[in-house]
Symmetry: C2
Subunit: 254 residues, 2 copies
Amino acid sequence: MNPATANIEEAILSAILAGRIDPGTRLGEQKLADLFGVSRTRVREAMMRLETRGVVQVSARRGWYVVEPSAEEAREAFQTRRVIETGLLHSLREVPAEVLKSLKEHVAMERDAIGAGDVHSRACLLGDFHIHLADALGNRLLTEIIRDLTARTTLISMLYQPTEKAEESSHDHEDIVAAMEDGDLARAARLMDEHIGKVEAGLDLTAKPDPLAGLRALLSPAAFAGNAPSVPPIHAQPPHDQPHIHGHPATKED
Amino acid sequence: MNPATANIEEAILSAILAGRIDPGTRLGEQKLADLFGVSRTRVREAMMRLETRGVVQVSARRGWYVVEPSAEEAREAFQTRRVIETGLLHSLREVPAEVLKSLKEHVAMERDAIGAGDVHSRACLLGDFHIHLADALGNRLLTEIIRDLTARTTLISMLYQPTEKAEESSHDHEDIVAAMEDGDLARAARLMDEHIGKVEAGLDLTAKPDPLAGLRALLSPAAFAGNAPSVPPIHAQPPHDQPHIHGHPATKED
DNA sequence: GCTCACAAACTTGTATACAAGGCTGTAAGC
DNA sequence: GCTTACAGCCTTGTATACAAGTTTGTGAGC
């Protein structure tokens, strides 16, 4: 693969994994081309690769957007992760010492980040745990699949999870590693199943991704009470600034 | 996604799943463009998507080639399939009646194809079983992952499996469906694990993919005995007709 | 004041032109 | 006869130009 194209692809994917790009963000070809100092051609290549990996979507002649998974797609993503990651733990016969060491170090880093209140790197680390775990098998193919899935669930969390329960997740990770250390991989798999289930359950999948959510706040009684500035409320956040892809129009009954 | 581009992508992937395109086949951009009646641009898009899915690879300024997985990559692909498909069966709580019906019909089709000696559709059906099984969860994301993996293992089988044990595979499928029908999904998962293990074990991963294999036959003693026509043996099958990607040069000791 | 139609600006979609590099066949030199 | 250098051809790599469609801003009409 072309290194420059790979860089664009990797840069965007990393930014998403790190939670630095919101779902629904528009990624204009020309803007990215200028940013990376290449022509649109290369940007388009990268975007199409990312589209295949389920990270971005194109809306015809409107632009590329970071995906905003629907509730149904969110369920599928978590189910898929559950299937793969429990399957992975079940299929592990033994855990290599260095893998265990690496995982323990990773969990320690998670706790440090949480203790330091480093919201940014903590979200990144929590997702990274699962990618590290995939490395336990030394299977690059599987690792890449899990990496893409993690990117997807990261976006889902940003969409549907108002409050991130970082401490709880990190504690779960710790328990999973402990089970692995005991050589009780069946327990590790069960814990993983529960862990992913918890994360999924913590989401509010009924709260559809709604690009007008911010607008609604402006339309709340408080706004009408007069504490909003003279900004015209209807156009304060025009819909096209964060357009949606999956067809969740503003609910009409509002 | 653009429909025309999707068609090219899908056409090539289907052909691979059906075993109609050999690993290592060169896919020239211009040739495909003429074939599909579009410009190279669209072909390149499709190829890059397929590259992301692990189906083709580009060799700089030489062309696109259907992947020839190395022995290591073959092991990874089978391990990944084992992880995912056993994980899938374990996570199934119950098997919907219509899924069971569909799977039974599929196995029946496999047996018919084997009985009729229809080599072509039988290979396609054997791979399709796993894709159908993924549908059991109704999870499109997981189905697509398994579909790509199946494409990969199909190519691997074509590279490393001289004799396909179709009857045995079909019988395995039958047993798995039977276990599912009994509601014994743990047994189904175990059988699946064994089944994939058997398929993998049936491969000769020591036999590196060797584009000069056909050439070697010409150089065998029989050829020297004079039953080969006056075709100059060295250039009868020039290496560049089926170039290799993964760096398995002709062994020098020959 | 409000609605609707239209035009301008902007964005992606597609093709094409040219650049850059690899492979093959040929011929010169040994 | 054998090796090696080189020219020509072929293929992909990249940029750019233009086509097609979408969104938005403006102004006429009611």
